[in-house]
C-alpha cells in the first residue's frame, strides 16, 4: 500500500521514508556528540562532547569526524585548537568551527585545513557565548554573540567583513534564544529577552516586536525560522508553541504541548510544519494546530531541508516530508485524478487485464495531464521501484497521445538516474528532485568533485551531454590537481597518466595543474606538465618562477609574442649578475637579441654599441657611433667618435664606409678652421653646401682647395658653381665663368639657371652660344615660342617642333595660333 506510511496533518499528509541504514550503526552514539549537518544531503560532522559523556572531566582533546549522509566515515582528526562553540557547514561544504575566542577555522570535508579568520577583537577579548551559521544571500554567514551581549556578523565566510548589530536595549543576561532572519538581502538578528522580542539590524536600529502570545505562555525559550525565512515558530517555557510569519504580523496558531521541558531542537519541516524534538519524541505541528507524533528508538538529530526534514539516528537516516500534491493525487485512496487512473490502468495492463482499456477510456481527454502527473510523481519518489512504476505508467499513457513532447519524460528519466546514483550509500547525497532543481546540476557536479568522485562526475557529465568545457575538462583538471598532491607516486608515471587523460580534452589548463604541483613542491613534475601547455602566455611565467630560464626564453620566442620575450629578457637581465653573462645567454637567439637591442636603443645608445661589439656586428656598431656622434657638442669629440667608427668599418672591411667617414672627419676639421678664420659657421654642412657657401663668399682659395682635396669632378663643380653664382645673383661672374673655358655642362645649363632664378634677360645673353641641337629647347625655356618654332622648321626637326607645340600652353593665344598654322610648313618643306 503506497499510503501506508502517510500521516494526515489537517488536510495534507506527511510521510517518513527511509534513506539509509547507517553504516556507523553500533559505532556511534549521537547523544554523546555535537552534530553539524550540511543541508542538501551534505556531510555530517560529529564532535565528541565530553560534557555529555564522561563523569570525570578530562583534558583529552575531542575527536572530530566527518561522515557522509549514509554514515560512512570520510575522515577523522583530533581537535587541537581552542574550545569549539559551534560547528556548521558553508554552502560550498566547508566545515566551519567557531571557537570561544571568535576565531573561525575552515576545513574542507576531508578535514584538511583551508583558512581561518576572526570575528573581531571584541569577540577575542571577551569570548563568545553562542554562534550561529546561517545561509545568507551571498553564501553562508556567521553570527556570534559575545559575553558583553553584542552580536557580530559576517554575511559571507569567503570574504569575511565583520558588522556589529545594534544592541538590544535593557538586556543584561544572555538571551534565552536568538536567531538570524534574512530578509530583503539583509541579515538581522531576532533576540528573545524574556517574553520580549527584538529585531536588531546592521544599521544600528532595533525594533521591539510583539508576538501575539497568550499571557500564561511565559518567556520564549526556543525559536525557529523556516527555510525561506518567511515563517517563525516560538516555544515558551510553558510549552506553548506559537506559529506565525517571521515579521510577527500574522499568527497562524498557538499550540500547547503541555511540556515545560525545553525541546532539544525546534525547526521547520519544509515551510509547512514545525517540528520539535524531545529526546526520542518528534512532534510535528501544522499551522492549524493539527499534530503528528513519532516515537524514535534512540536519540536523533534533525536537519531542516528545503522540502522536508532529515532525521539522523544511530541506525537509520529518514526523511520526513509533506506528501507532494501530485503524489497525493495519484496514490490517495479513491482518487479519481487522471494520474491515478492512468497508474491503475498501467498496473492492470501489466496484469494483462482488459480493465486497463476501461481506465484509459475514462481519462481519454485528460491523458496528457495524467502523463505529466505520473512523471512528476516519479520525481518525488525515493525508491527506484516506485519511480519505475510511475514512469512505466507515464510511458504507457504516452502511447495513446500523438503529439506529446517527449522532453519532460526523458529529462525526468535522466534526472532520476543521476539522483539514484548520488543517493547510493557509497556517495551518500540524499537529494530530492526538488532540492536538485534548486541546487542545479553544475553545483551537484562540483559537490561530487569536492568528494573526489571524479569518475562519477565525468560519467554524469557525459550522460547529460554537458559541454566538455564546463563538464569533463573541468573535472579532469580538478582530478589532475588532486593527483599531483599524491606524494608517493612516481613523477614520470604521474605526468604520463595526467597527459594521457587530458591531452585530447579541450580547455584544460596544464599551467594551472603545474602550478598546483609546484605549490606542493614537485618542481620536476611541474616542468613535465608544463610541456603540455599550449598557451605560451600561461607557460612562460611559470617556467620563470621555476627558474627554467632557457626553456622560458625558447617558449616565448616560439610563441611569436614579443611581449612575452621581453618579460623573460628583462627578468633574466635583472637576475644575471653581469650584463656579459646575460648577453652570452641570448646571443644564440637572433630574435631575442634584436628585441633587446630595440629596447636598449630607446634606453641607452651607448649600450647598443656594446651589444653590437659583443655580437661582432661591426657594421651596425659603426652606424650607431655615427648616429651618436651627432648628439655630441664638441667637434673634436665627434671627430674622435667617427674615427672609432672608421675602425669598426675597417674591421668589417667596408672600404667605402671607411673612406667616407675619413673624408667626413677631414671635412669637419676644415669646417672648423674656416669657422675660426671667418667667424661664420659651416658646421653640419655637406661638402656641396660648404662649397656653395664659399663661392657665395668668394673665397676662391678654399674653394679650389676643397675641390682638389675631395676630388670633385669638373662637371659637378660647374653645376655647383653656376648654381651658386646665380643664387647669389652674381651675373657678371657667371658670364665670366662661362667664358673661362668650354663649359662641360653645355651653355644651356646657364640658360636654365638664369631662368630658375628668374632673370630672363641674362638667359637671353647665352642664347647665341647654345649648341644647335639644344637651341629650340632653350628658346622655349625663355618663352620665345615663335623663334623656337622657326628654328625647328629650319632644322627640319619634327621632334623639336612637337616639343614646341606641347609647350604652347604657356604662350599667348595669338602666337600659339601662328605656330599651329606653321605645322603645315614643316610638312611642305620635307
Amino acid at each position: 500500500m503506497a499510503t501506508a506510511d502517510w500521516n494526515p496533518l489537517g488536510d495534507v499528509y506527511y510521510r517518513k521514508c527511509d534513506l539509509y541504514a547507517m553504516e556507523w550503526s553500533g559505532l556511534v552514539d549521537l547523544a554523546k556528540h555535537t552534530v553539524a549537518v550540511s543541508t542538501y544531503g551534505g556531510p555530517i560532522a560529529l564532535m565528541k562532547d565530553e560534557s555529555k559523556t564522561s563523569r570525570v572531566v578530562t583534558n583529552v582533546k575531542p575527536v572530530v569526524s566527518v561522515y557522509n549522509a549514509a554514515g560512512r566515515l570520510q575522515s577523522q582528526m583530533r581537535w587541537n585548537s581552542g574550545n569549539v562553540i559551534t560547528m556548521g557547514w558553508s554552502s560550498t561544504e566547508e566545515l566551519l568551527c567557531i571557537q570561544e575566542d571568535g576565531v573561525v577555522l575552515v576545513y574542507d570535508m576531508f578535514l584538511s585545513f583551508k583558512r581561518t579568520f576572526s570575528m573581531g577583537q571584541e569577540a577575542k577579548d571577551v569570548k563568545i557565548i553562542d554562534a550561529k551559521v546561517f545561509p545568507s544571500f551571498q553564501g553562508t554567514g556567521i553570527a556570534v554573540i559575545t559575553t558583553s551581549l553584542r552580536i557580530f556578523l559576517v554575511s559571507n565566510v569567503d570574504s569575511p567583513r565583520i558588522v556589529r548589530l545594534a544592541e538590544v536595549p535593557g538586556m543584561n543576561e544572555a538571551p534565552s534564544c536568538w536567531s538570524i532572519v534574512v530578509t530583503d538581502r539583509q541579515a538581522r538578528a531576532l533576540v528573545a529577552s524574556g517574553s520580549d522580542l527584538f529585531l536588531v539590524d546592521q544599521g544600528g536600529q532595533y525594533q521591539q516586536m510583539q508576538a501575539d502570545l497568550s499571557e500564561s505562555a511565559g518567556p520564549i525559550t526556543e525559536m525557529a525560522v523556516s527555510f525561506n525565512s518567511k515563517f517563525l515558530a516560538l516555544c515558551t517555557q510553558q510549552g506553548v508553541l506559537w506559529i506565525g510569519s517571521s515579521d510577527l504580523q500574522k499568527k497562524y496558531c498557538e499550540f500547547n504541548t503541555k511540556s515545560t521541558v525545553r525541546p532539544q531542537q525546534l525547526l521547520w519541516c519544509g515551510n509547512g510544519a514545525v517540528v520539535g524534538l524531545w529526546d526520542t519524541l518528534i512532534l510535528v505541528v501544522g499551522p492549524d494546530k493539527d499534530w503528528i507524533r513519532y516515537k524514535m528508538d534512540c536519540s536523533v538529530h534533525l536537519v531542516q531541508e528545503e522540502d522536508g526534514l532529515r532525521i539522523i539516528g544511530n541506525d537509520t537516516h529518514d526523511f520526513l516530508q509533506k506528501v507532494p500534491a501530485v503524489t497525493e493525487q495519484i496514490f490517495k485512496i479513491g482518487s479519481m485524478e487522471p494520474g491515478a487512473m492512468l497508474f491503475e490502468a498501467s498496473k492492470e495492463f501489466q496484469k494483462r487485464n482488459q480493465k486497463a482499456d476501461e481506465y484509459v477510456r475514462m481519462i481519454k481527454d485528460k491523458l496528457d495531464i495524467a502523463v505529466n502527473q505520473c512523471i512528476q510523481a516519479a520525481g518525488n519518489e525515493i525508491e527506484p521501484a516506485k519511480q519505475r512504476m510511475l514512469l512505466r505508467a507515464a510511458s504507457f499513457g504516452k502511447c495513446f497521445l500523438t503529439d506529446y513532447r517527449p522532453e519532460p519524460f526523458v529529462n525526468m528519466c535522466q534526472m532520476l538516474r543521476v539522483l539514484n546514483q548520488v543517493r547510493h550509500h557509497s556517495v551518500g547525497i540524499p537529494l530530492t528532485y526538488t532540492q536538485l532543481e534548486h541546487l542545479s546540476m553544475p553545483v551537484l557536479i562540483d559537490r561530487l568533485v569536492l568528494r573526489k568522485l571524479f569518475g562519477l562526475a565525468v560519467r554524469i557529465c557525459q550522460y547529460l551531454k554537458v559541454p566538455d568545457a564546463e563538464g569533463r575538462s573541468r573535472i579532469l583538471a580538478h582530478w589532475a590537481c588532486f593527483k599531483v598532491q599524491q606524494k608517493n607516486e612516481d613523477e614520470e608515471k604521474l605526468a604520463r597518466a595526467i597527459s594521457q587523460k587530458l591531452l585530447d580534452v579541450p580547455g584544460v589548463s596544464f599551467s594551472e595543474i603545474a602550478s598546483q604541483a609546484l605549490e606542493y613542491g614537485r618542481k620536476q613534475l611541474a616542468v613535465k606538465l608544463l610541456d603540455y601547455e599550449a598557451r605560451a602566455s600561461e607557460q612562460v611565467p611559470l617556467l620563470l618562477k621555476m627558474g627554467q630560464d632557457q626553456a622560458a626564453l625558447t617558449k616565448a620566442i616560439d610563441s611569436g609574442d614579443t611581449d612575452l620575450v621581453y618579460t623573460v629578457l628583462l627578468h633574466l637581465r635583472d637576475k644575471q649578475s653581469s650584463s656579459g653573462d646575460f648577453f652570452m645567454m641570448i646571443r644564440t637567439m637572433p630574435i631575442a637579441c634584436s628585441l633587446y637591442i630595440q629596447y636598449c636603443k630607446q634606453q641607452n645608445l651607448k649600450l647598443v654599441e656594446d651589444l653590437y661589439y659583443q655580437e661582432d656586428n661591426s657594421l651596425e656598431e659603426g652606424n650607431c657611433k655615427i648616429l651618436r656622434s651627432y648628439t655630441l657638442e664638441h667637434i673634436e669629440e665627434r671627430a674622435r667618435l667617427l674615427e672609432d667608427a672608421t675602425n669598426c668599418f675597417h674591421r668589417c672591411k667596408n672600404d667605402f664606409a671607411v673612406k667616407q667617414t675619413e673624408e667626413q672627419v677631414k671635412l669637419m676639421r676644415i669646417q672648423r678652421r674656416l669657422e675660426d678664420d671667418s667667424g661664420r659657421s659651416y658646421a653640419d654642412l655637406s661638402l656641396q653646401a660648404t662649397l656653395h657657401q664659399l663661392i657665395l663668399e668668394r673665397n676662391s682659395a678654399w674653394v679650389e682647395r676643397l675641390r682638389k682635396d675631395f676630388k670633385v669632378p669638373d662637371k659637378r663643380f660647374w653645376i655647383l658653381k653656376i648654381n651658386a653664382l646665380a643664387y647669389g645673383e652674381d651675373w657678371v661672374e657667371l658670364e665670366r665663368f662661362s667664358r673661362s673655358k668650354k663649359p662641360p655642362v653645355g651653355i644651356e645649363a646657364f640658360v636654365n639657371v638664369c631662368m630658375k632664378y628668374g632673370n630672363r634677360l641674362e638667359a637671353m645673353k647665352y642664347l647665341s652660344r647654345v649648341a644647335p641641337d639644344q637651341k629650340v629647347r632653350c628658346l622655349v625655356k625663355v618663352g620665345m615660342f615663335k623663334e623656337a618654332a622657326d628654328a625647328a622648321i629650319e632644322a627640319k626637326n619634327e621632334d623639336d617642333f612637337g616639343y614646341v607645340l606641347s609647350r604652347l600652353g604657356h604662350a599667348d593665344r595669338q602666337v600659339a595660333d601662328q605656330i599651329r598654322a606653321m605645322r603645315g610648313q614643316l610638312g611642305a618643306k620635307r
Binding site: 611581449d563 667616407q660 671635412l667 656641396q688 662637371k715
Partner: protein
C-alpha cells in the same frame, strides 16, 4: 558583411573603458591616435562619455592642467611611458592629487609596465588596453594606422607588431567568421599566417561554419617595392602624394580653396563625386569633371522652368541642397587638380617620369643614370633622387660596383655625411644594392633569418614571367582594362597582378617559380576555391580580404578595385598603413636633429 560592425564593437569597448571611471575626466592622446579616434568614434562620443578636456601628449611637457581624473590613451612605446611617468612625478611633487589610468592601444605590453615600475609610478596608475586594431576608412578599406610597422619589422627586425597584425586578423575573423582559404605571399606573410593559426589553436574555439570572408591574401611589402616607388597617376593616389591623406581626411590649404583659410575634407565613397573620380587616370579627370559640371548646370537650370508651387517646394527641399553640396565638392576637386598640375610643373616632372618609365622598361640605362646624377648635383629633393635611384637598383637588380660607389659618394657630398646611415638602411632592405659579381646566376632566396639581409629581388624575371610591363599602347586609360593603368601603363603592381593570377587560376600550380622569386608563396585552402568561375554557390567566397604587411599605396588599392570590377568579386583592402613613395623614402632617410 558590413565593416561598420567593427566601429560598433570599438565604440562599445571604448565606452566601457570611459565609463569605468565615473564623472568627468580628461583624456590625453598620443598624437598619432587623434585621427584614428576621430574617425572611429568622434569627439562628440567622447564628450558624451564624460570626457572633459582633450590633451595631446607631446615630448617635453612637464605636467598638464585639468581635473582630478585623467586617462592616457597611448601606443605602448617606451618613450611614451617615460613622458607619462614624468607627468605623474611632477604633479605628485607639486602636491596635485589625481587618479591616472593608462590605456594602451592596441594592447598593453609588459615592458611598458616595467618602465612605469622603474619610474616608480606603478602604484598611482591603473592600466588597461583598448584593442583598436583594424578599423574601416571606407567601405572597402581597413587600416591599422601603424606606419611604424615598416621600419620596425623590416629594418629593426622587431616582431612586436607582427603579433598585433595577427591578432587583428584573428579578431576580424572572430567577427566575420573564419576564412577557409588563406594565401600568404612573402616571408613575413607566412609568419603572420602561422601566428594566426597558433592564436586560433590556443583558444580552441569551435570553428564556426558560417563565414563572410572567403579568402584572405596576406602580402609582404618586400615582395614588391617597385610599385611602391612608382609615381602615381590616378587621382586618389596623387592627392595622397601631393597633400597627404590622413585617415581618409585631407587638409587643403588656402592655395587650393582660394579662400583665406584651408578646408578639411573627408574622402570616402559617400562623396558621390569622389567615388566616381578617385580611381580615374589623371588624364581623364577633366572630361569627367566637365560632364559633371554640365550636369549640375542642367540641374540648376531646372529652377528656371519650375511650373508650380509644388515643384518649387520639391526643388528647394531636395535638389537644391544636393546641388549646392555637389557644386562645392566639384569646385574643390577641380581646384585640387589644378594645384596638382601646378606642383608637377615645378620640377622636371616630365623628365623624371620619362626616366622612371625607361627604368621600368630597362631601357636607356646610361641616360637614366645621368639624369639621376644631375638630380644629385642640382640638389633636387633627396626623396625624389633616392626614389629614382632605388628604382634603378631594383630594376637593374643592383648597380654595378663602380656606379654604386660613385653615386653614393656624390649623394653624401651633396646631401651630407649622415646619409651614410641612410645608404646602409637602403642596402639592408635591398633597395639600393651593388651587383654581386661573384655570383652572376640567380640566387634562390634562402629561408634563413639572415634572408632579410640578403633579400634579392628578381625584377627582370618576374616582370617577364608575369608581364608586368605591358605594351603601353594597348592600355585604355579611359575605360581601364589592365591593372597597369594606375601607372599610365608603365608597370603593373606585382602583388595585385599575382592576386589576379591566383584568382583566375584558382591554384598555385604553375606559379612555383614566381613564388620562389617573391620570397615564398603559400596557400592554406580549406574550401573548394571558387571565386571567379561560374559555379560558385557560396557568396562569401567572392569576398576577398587583401592584407598588406608594411603598407600599401592608393595606386595598389585602385588596381585591386579594378580587379574587383573586372572579375565581379568584392575586395576589401586591409593594411598596416597607407603610404606613398615619398613617405616611404622619407621614413628611411636619416634625419639628424641637432
Amino acid at each position: 558583411m558590413d565593416l561598420q560592425e567593427l566601429i560598433k564593437l570599438l565604440k562599445t569597448q571604448l565606452a566601457h573603458l570611459l565609463v569605468s571611471i565615473p564623472d568627468a575626466k580628461d583624456l590625453v592622446l598620443d598624437s598619432d591616435l587623434t585621427k584614428p579616434l576621430d574617425r572611429v568614434v568622434g569627439i562628440a562620443f567622447l564628450k558624451e562619455h564624460g570626457v572633459d578636456k582633450i590633451f595631446k601628449l607631446e615630448p617635453g611637457q612637464k605636467s598638464l592642467p585639468g581635473c582630478g581624473k585623467r586617462i592616457y590613451l597611448v601606443r605602448p612605446r617606451l618613450v611614451t611611458m617615460k613622458y607619462i611617468a614624468d607627468h605623474i612625478n611632477t604633479e605628485i611633487a607639486k602636491g596635485e592629487r589625481r587618479s591616472y589610468k593608462i590605456v594602451m592601444v592596441p594592447r598593453k605590453l609588459h615592458v611598458c609596465e616595467m618602465i612605469l615600475e622603474n619610474e616608480g609610478v606603478m602604484g598611482h596608475v591603473t592600466i588597461d588596453e583598448f584593442p583598436l586594431e583594424l578599423f574601416p576608412l571606407d567601405s572597402d578599406l581597413l587600416s591599422l594606422e601603424l606606419p611604424e610597422f615598416f621600419s620596425s619589422f623590416y629594418l629593426d627586425e622587431d616582431m612586436t607588431w607582427l603579433h598585433t597584425v595577427s591578432s587583428a586578423l584573428v579578431n576580424l575573423q572572430r567577427l566575420f567568421g573564419r576564412a577557409p582559404n588563406i594565401y600568404s605571399i612573402g616571408k613575413g606573410a607566412k609568419m603572420v599566417h602561422e601566428l594566426m593559426e597558433t592564436m586560433f589553436e590556443n583558444h580552441k574555439e569551435r570553428r564556426d561554419k558560417t563565414y563572410h570572408i572567403g579568402q584572405i591574401f596576406i602580402v609582404d611589402r618586400d615582395v614588391d617595392y617597385v610599385s611602391l616607388l612608382c609615381t602615381p597617376m590616378t587621382y586618389e593616389a596623387m592627392l595622397d602624394e601631393s597633400f597627404g591623406i590622413n585617415c581618409g581626411m585631407i587638409d587643403f590649404d588656402s592655395e587650393v580653396t582660394g579662400e583665406s583659410k584651408g578646408t578639411k575634407m573627408l574622402l570616402t565613397s559617400s562623396d558621390e563625386i569622389y567615388a566616381q573620380i578617385r580611381d580615374c587616370h589623371f588624364s581623364q579627370m577633366f572630361s569627367y569633371m566637365k560632364m559633371k559640371a554640365k550636369e549640375l548646370q542642367e540641374l540648376e537650370n531646372k529652377k528656371n522652368n519650375l511650373q508650380s508651387v509644388g515643384d518649387m517646394k520639391q526643388f528647394v527641399a531636395n535638389d537644391l541642397r544636393v546641388l549646392k553640396q555637389q557644386q562645392k565638392l566639384l569646385s574643390t576637386h577641380i581646384s585640387a587638380c589644378e594645384a596638382i598640375i601646378k606642383m608637377k610643373g615645378k620640377h622636371d616632372f616630365e623628365e623624371s617620369i620619362r626616366t622612371e618609365h625607361n627604368l621600368l622598361e630597362c631601357a636607356e640605362f646610361k641616360e637614366n643614370m645621368i639624369f639621376i646624377e644631375e638630380c644629385i648635383q642640382k640638389q633636387v629633393s633627396p626623396i625624389l633622387t633616392l626614389r629614382l635611384l632605388c628604382l634603378a637598383s631594383l630594376t637593374q637588380e643592383g648597380l654595378s660596383q663602380r656606379e654604386y660607389k660613385s653615386i653614393k659618394t656624390q649623394f653624401l657630398h651633396s646631401h651630407g655625411f649622415e646619409h651614410l646611415v641612410t645608404m646602409f638602411r637602403l642596402k639592408k632592405l635591398g633597395l639600393l644594392t651593388e651587383q654581386d659579381t661573384s655570383q652572376t646566376s640567380m640566387r634562390p632566396v634562402t629561408s634563413k633569418p639572415s634572408a632579410l639581409y640578403t633579400r634579392k629581388f628578381n625584377y627582370r624575371a618576374l616582370s617577364r614571367k608575369l608581364g608586368l610591363v605591358p605594351d603601353a599602347e594597348a592600355i585604355n586609360l579611359q575605360r581601364p582594362n589592365h591593372l597597369s593603368y594606375v601607372f599610365s601603363g608603365a608597370y603593373t603592381p606585382l602583388p595585385c597582378k599575382l592576386i589576379e593570377q591566383i584568382l583566375i587560376r584558382e591554384t598555385l600550380v604553375g606559379l612555383e617559380d614566381v613564388g620562389r622569386m617573391c620570397g615564398g608563396l603559400h596557400a592554406d585552402l580549406k574550401a573548394k576555391h571558387q571565386a571567379i568561375s561560374a559555379g560558385t554557390t557560396i557568396p562569401a567566397m567572392k569576398v576577398i580580404l587583401v592584407f598588406f604587411l608594411g603598407g600599401c599605396t592608393f595606386s595598389e588599392i585602385t588596381a585591386l578595385r579594378l580587379i574587383a570590377r573586372l572579375h565581379g568579386v568584392r575586395i576589401i583592402v586591409a593594411t598596416t598603413a597607407i603610404t606613398t613613395a615619398n613617405r616611404f623614402i622619407d621614413g628611411l632617410i636619416e634625419k639628424v636633429n641637432r
